[in-house]
């Protein structure tokens, strides 16, 4: 089993962890056309108004992702990181039927491919708008062929991170060492 120090203590994410967290939030926006608004609403519902008083503050925290066009240096405060992960898990829980539909193999192949194509087009649109296209990670995400495993892994992470026990699992995953 993996080992580390206290898992329940608030975590300071590495740059790679921040990158993944923002990409997962971007996936939520790709799945839900009103995802940006839902994030702000969820933050208020969960009582994080003190940490993110408005959408600009929420946006600024997401800009610690090194893949962004306008990226911020430094690291996020562990309390802010935990709040963002909690918001992400709550949004993933709301979107679980869509995540499940993307991952299920029981439906006809044609419908599944259409779903993935729609998700990919929305995600690419958002990534082109906000991410630095010179970064290899962004180029991989935008590539229809090479980016498919990455997109699938992001959707899988959202599905396993949703629900009551998803928070600890997702947070531990975002704290993985960068190698």
């Amino acid at each position: 089993m993996p080992v580390s120090s206290a898992a329940s203590a608030p975590a300071r994410l590495t740059r790679r962890g921040l990158e993944r967290l923002d990409l997962l939030l971007l996936c939520v926006e790709a799945l839900d056309l009103n995802g940006g608004e839902a994030m702000v609403w969820m933050s208020e519902q969960m009582g994080f108004t003190g940490l993110f008083p408005n959408r600009v503050e929420l946006w600024k925290r997401r800009c610690y992702n090194p893949l962004r066009r306008t990226t911020r240096r430094g690291a996020l405060d562990p309390a802010e990181t935990d709040a963002l992960i909690r918001i992400l898990c709550a949004l993933a829980d709301r979107l679980y039927p869509m995540l499940r539909a993307l991952l299920a193999t029981a439906e006809p192949e044609e419908i599944r491919l259409q779903r993935w194509a729609l998700f990919q087009s929305r995600l690419s649109e958002l990534a082109r708008e906000r991410m630095n296209p010179r970064r290899v990670g962004v180029q991989t995400l935008l590539d229809p062929e090479r980016g498919a495993p990455l997109r699938r892994q992001l959707v899988q992470a959202l599905a396993f991170g949703s629900g009551t026990g998803g928070f600890e699992r997702l947070r531990a995953s975002l704290c993985d060492p960068a190698v």
Binding site: M1, L103, T105, A106, Q156, G163, G165, D176, P177
Partner: protein
């Protein structure tokens, strides 16, 4: 009084029956002793067992899902354990194997896709975090992976490309440098001659 806990997801349903452990003062609609459980899959045989089997299921499925989030798909559940889960050999999906404690009973294998696995993980999460289940489950908390485990998600061939390529380039440069001719020593400069004295 017997208490029944029910959890539902789209592809599976879990029902746990139990009693409060009155020896430690539990009362009301809580479960301190699990007497039976049933996991029903749509279109598949129902799974039943004792508390140990349910615990074994949680002990392999939850860490497996934790590793999958990090992109590491590796089997969980060694031979003596009654449950094993591993990535399907024939493409995407997962194989859940349940070994019976009865002799001469072949293990039951279930092929799950990602959606069914996430349904199962949600069910098990609902159960372990249910305040009505007042039972020490002894499950490890999710932890960040070790660097070596993270490395496993990159195929070995891909991991070895850079170091092997670098070693080959060094060997090639060293070989070529052996072929480079050694410069010949420069001829020694002629001895300095004293000029002849002018005739008177």
């Amino acid at each position: 009084m017997k208490t029944t806990l029910r959890y539902d997801q789209l592809s599976c349903h879990l029902q746990v029956e139990g009693l409060p452990d009155v020896s430690i003062g539990q009362v009301g609609e809580v479960v301190g002793i699990i007497t039976a459980w049933t996991l029903q899959w749509s279109g598949r045989p129902a799974l039943e067992g004792r508390k140990e089997h349910l615990l074994a299921l949680m002990q392999v499925v939850l860490p497996y899902a934790r590793h999958l989030i990090s992109g590491v798909a590796r089997p969980f559940g060694d031979d003596p354990q009654p449950v094993r889960i591993a990535p399907a050999a024939e493409g995407p999906g997962h194989r859940l194997q349940l070994r019976s404690s009865q002799p001469d009973t072949p293990p039951l294998e279930l092929a799950l896709d990602d959606a069914e696995l996430s349904d199962l993980v949600r069910l098990l999460d609902q159960l372990r975090l249910d305040p009505r289940l007042q039972l020490a489950l002894d499950l490890p908390e999710p932890q960040p992976l070790r660097p070596r485990e993270v490395l496993q998600r990159v195929p070995r061939r891909q991991r070895l490309v850079a170091p092997v390529g670098g070693a080959l380039v060094v060997a090639l440069v060293a070989g070529l440098s052996w072929l480079w001719p050694t410069p010949k020593p420069l001829p020694s400069p002629p001895a300095a001659t004293t000029p002849a004295a002018p005739a008177p």
